[in-house]
Amino acid sequence: MKHKTLSGIAGHIALIALSLLFLAPFAFMVSTSLKDEKQVFTETIQWIPSPIHWENYPAALLSFPFWTYLKNTLMICVGTVNGTLVSAALPAYGFARLRWRGRDAMFYLMIATIMLPAQVTQLPIFLIFRSLGWTGTFLPLIVPSFFGNAFSIFLLRQFFLTIPEELSDAARMDGCSEWGIFWRILLPLSKPALATVALFAFMGAWTDFQGPLIYVHDEAQYTLAIGLSSFLGRHGGQWNLLMAAATVVTIPLIVAFFFAQRTFIQGIAVTGMKG
């Protein structure tokens, strides 16, 4: 018994030390964002600046078109989330709840595409969108999400598999079509899994850098990720402003995470479990 509590205390001490180590960069980011230039470049680190320079936040946000970039990012995020949800649920149903010859072969083919490096398809896709005249618009960033993302389909399929088959059988007895079962029974029961997929799609679009880098050239169409990197180029060395901007871009994701923590962690666990 005594041994147990002792190892428990040791465990807590290790965990607290590690937590501090993992949190220190965040603290440094926020702390720097509240300093003026003199306070930034001191010999020893001042964790809580005095006085606190809140004005860095408006200064950082006013020194680049933050609201425009935010609006662009949100437009792409909303489009992508819609596309991903629509195009992941249907195939997931086809893979999880229908029995047909060739299904498993198709499924393994889809799983294999998860391993495909983006670079192998990226250049011809760029050329296709370019010949369609879509470069310089958000279409190349949104439209592909309407064609079924393998990771999302896999995640939803795993969830659909856990819903008892008897529900579908009973509905079939009552003459319900497969579409009806999908739309009226499976989807309403799958809200948590759909939320996970939506969340991942949102996060992916929010942080995507290479996509907008390739397709968006006009400054008025920059996303936050691109805008932030050009901000870095122009304000290199002004760490207080840079950290304020980085904090602003990070906070929405941390808030989203706290609201949907369970959804999040379960989703990651599912995608990681079955390789």
Partner: protein, 299 residues
């Protein structure tokens, strides 16, 4: 006529199944299969986007394999970066094991360790440029406080890659969560049996825990290999491949070929080489895994 022959060719179930998966299937043909083949074709051409592609045979591949200026360094840097995989495995697993002890407040610690992995890539890059600042950054201030020599990190050809590895390890929470879920799925009966045999904690780790979660380790390893080959945004934002090409990674050089030098043919050749290497790496990990991956239900 046509619809008739299709009807006999595909059963009702198959048509229904294909209808349901059609969003993915159409996407697969248009955005995966066709581009892979187009990449292969373009890799044998000289293509500078503005004029139509011109067939040049193996020239792109030959030039790449003889290119000791950029291609081989980019491959070498990428291979060096594989060092991160065992480190991330050990750290991620160690954190997961610590969290799996049914201590009070486990979910709080899990959240804290996980948070770094949701920081947007560009914000993360900016943060670490500052953390790794040789003069005033947190890392070197900390090192100097305990009298460890502080390297110039991203400004030093020797330390730039280790700096990026340290930065990546901060976000190890993503794989930690996966390991943790796997650990919680290990049947307690296995541990009870090991207890009966008088196994100590270390023996239980080696002969029960690790075999039981080996499929997950295996999955993370494959995704790690593939992810390393695609490592791009951090170097693009932070170092642009420097100093002295120390962080010129494969994906970065590929991007530069395609979108900065407009050598689409060469970029496509690099993409296909990447495809082959990925296939080979995945195959190799699969092959060797037979000896150490244990799947439940497998006899």
């Amino acid at each position: 006529m046509r619809t008739n022959s299709r009807k006999t060719f595909l059963s009702r179930e198959q048509r229904l199944g294909l209808w349901f998966i059609s969003p993915w299937l159409i996407g697969f043909v248009l955005l995966t299969l066709y581009p892979i083949l187009a990449t292969l074709y373009l890799s044998f051409t000289d293509y500078r986007v503005l004029s139509p592609p011109r067939w040049v045979g193996w020239a792109n591949y030959r030039e790449l394999l003889l290119d000791t200026e950029n291609f081989w360094p980019s491959l070498g840097n990428t291979v060096f970066f594989f060092l991160e995989l065992p480190l991330a495995l050990i750290l991620g697993l160690a954190l997961a094991l610590l969290l799996n002890q049914k201590l009070r407040g486990m979910t709080i610690y899990r959240t804290l360790f996980y948070l770094p992995s949701i920081v947007p890539v560009v914000a993360n890059a900016m943060l670490w440029l500052w953390l790794l600042n040789p003069e005033h950054g947190l890392v070197n201030t900390g090192l100097r406080a305990v009298y460890i020599p502080a390297p110039a990190w991203l400004a030093s050809p020797l330390w730039a890659k280790p700096a990026l590895i340290v930065m990546d390890l901060w976000a190890v929470g993503g794989s930690m969560v996966i390991y943790l879920a796997a650990l919680q799925g290990v049947p307690t009966s296995l541990y009870e049996a090991a207890d009966l045999d008088g196994a100590n904690a270390f023996q239980k780790l080696v002969s029960v825990t690790l075999p039981a979660i080996s499929p997950v380790i295996f999955f993370n390893l494959i995704m790690g290999v593939i992810g390393t080959f695609q490592y791009f945004t951090q170097t693009f934002v932070m170092t642009k491949g420097g100093p002295d090409k120390a962080t010129l990674f494969y994906a970065l050089y590929l991007y530069q070929n395609a979108f900065q030098y407009f050598r689409m043919g060469a970029a496509c050749a690099m993409a296909w080489l990447l495809f082959l290497v990925t296939l080979a790496a995945t195959f190799l990990v699969f092959k060797t895994s037979a000896g150490w991956v244990y799947y439940e239900g497998e006899r």
